[in-house]
């Protein structure tokens, strides 16, 4: 005879199935990856009050035309040579005040990495992909020089140090230590990348 009284037990066997179903749904919709990209600072809109005179030889001009060709220092250049040229320019140390530069000390090129400015101009019809490639090469030139100095001073890569410094999971004691080092390397090769307003095509 069946036992009466007391509610019948609910079968919980299908609980796992339901949970699995939800699990699979969230598995499929999850995106954990973080975005990455090139960080840049735009110049403030107010023009600087006093007009600073910059010597022509301290400016490295890069022009991109609408079909993606490069004019570097008035010379038609292949994109693959841009990084090498930018490094040669930044690392030149023409006036001899830069004791860590390993460049040619050419009189007609930049005086000091802290004075060297890269000026990037592009046409309104330049493809964004080309622009990013040029930006990437110029940032790469800076990173390569900074890595060299970081290796010399601290025995590790600058990009590595910076990534650890920017990572929010790094403990703050290490961060404080890294902050000075990162700052010091950045001061050796400050990123001075000027972007003029785009030219209209003729």
């Amino acid at each position: 005879m069946a036992r009466r009284g007391g509610p019948p037990e609910v079968n919980a066997g299908s609980m796992a199935d339901i949970a699995f179903l939800l699990l699979i749904f969230f598995l499929v919709t999850t995106t954990i990856e973080t975005d990455a990209g090139l960080d840049r600072m735009l110049p403030p809109i107010e023009p600087p009050e006093d007009n600073v005179i910059i010597k022509q030889k301290n400016i490295f001009t890069v022009n991109i035309n609408k079909s993606g060709q490069l004019l570097v220092e008035e010379e038609l250049t292949n994109l693959k040579d841009l990084r090498k040229k930018a490094i040669a320019f930044l690392d030149n140390g023409g006036d001899g005040t830069c004791n860590y530069c390993k460049g040619k000390k050419d009189d007609t090129s930049s005086d000091n990495p802290t004075k060297a400015i890269i000026s990037l101009k592009n046409d309104r019809e330049t493809k964004y992909g080309t622009y990013i490639t040029v930006q990437n090469e110029l940032v790469g030139a800076y990173n390569e020089l900074r890595n060299r100095e970081a290796q010399r001073l601290y025995g590790r890569d600058f990009t590595d140090m910076e990534a650890e410094y920017l990572n929010p999971e790094t403990p703050s004691s290490i961060r404080d230590d890294l902050k000075d080092k990162v700052q010091r390397i950045q001061d050796l090769f400050p990123q001075k990348l000027s972007e003029a307003e785009t030219a209209t095509s003729n």
């Binding site: 919709t29 954990i32 403030p44 307003e197």
Partner: protein
């Protein structure tokens, strides 16, 4: 006096599956917490360019997104094939970018308002003219920190 019934040999005891739901629930909660649902569906084509010197965009709450690209096929009849700007779920003009940034900035907590980054997710076939206009608008509202979002890869693949 006690009577012992001998266990039958060769009969494996059943493994208890009672804790299976618990395990599965644990996994479920893990994925529920790390999931970020896409808050805006893309209405523009968005093949990002490649770059090798990238930095990770940490802290998603400090990032504002601007999408640029050709409208996807569904929207091409209405909006044409010229690259457009997408802000949240709407197509927008260049002149709307400034207002959008101010609006989004006002929504963020006070202490984050000065450290916001604008992530530009731009299709690699877009023209620089539009990007320059956006940059000009960003400068007007003093949103100077930008990140050109890219895929990690060889930058020379962009120009092939």
């Amino acid at each position: 006096m006690a009577k012992f019934t001998k266990k039958k040999d060769g009969d494996l005891p059943a493994v208890s599956t009672a804790s299976l739901p618990d395990i599965v629930f644990m996994l479920l909660f893990f994925f529920m917490t790390v999931t970020t649902m896409k808050d805006s569906s893309l209405m523009v084509e968005n093949t990002l360019p490649n770059a090798s010197e990238v930095k990770k965009l940490e802290k998603k709450d400090r990032v504002l997104y601007i999408y640029v690209g050709k409208p996807t096929r569904d929207y091409q009849k209405v909006f044409g094939t010229e690259p457009k700007i997408q802000l949240n779920d709407k197509f927008a003009n260049v002149s709307d970018v400034g207002d959008f940034i101010l609006e989004e900035r006002a929504k963020k907590p006070q202490e984050l308002q000065n450290v916001l980054t604008t992530a530009l997710k731009v299709d690699k076939d877009a023209n620089m003219g539009l990007i320059s206009d956006i940059k000009q608008e960003l400068r007007k509202v003093n949103a100077l920190k930008v990140n050109y979002t890219t895929y990690e890869g060889d930058a020379f693949r962009n120009i092939q």
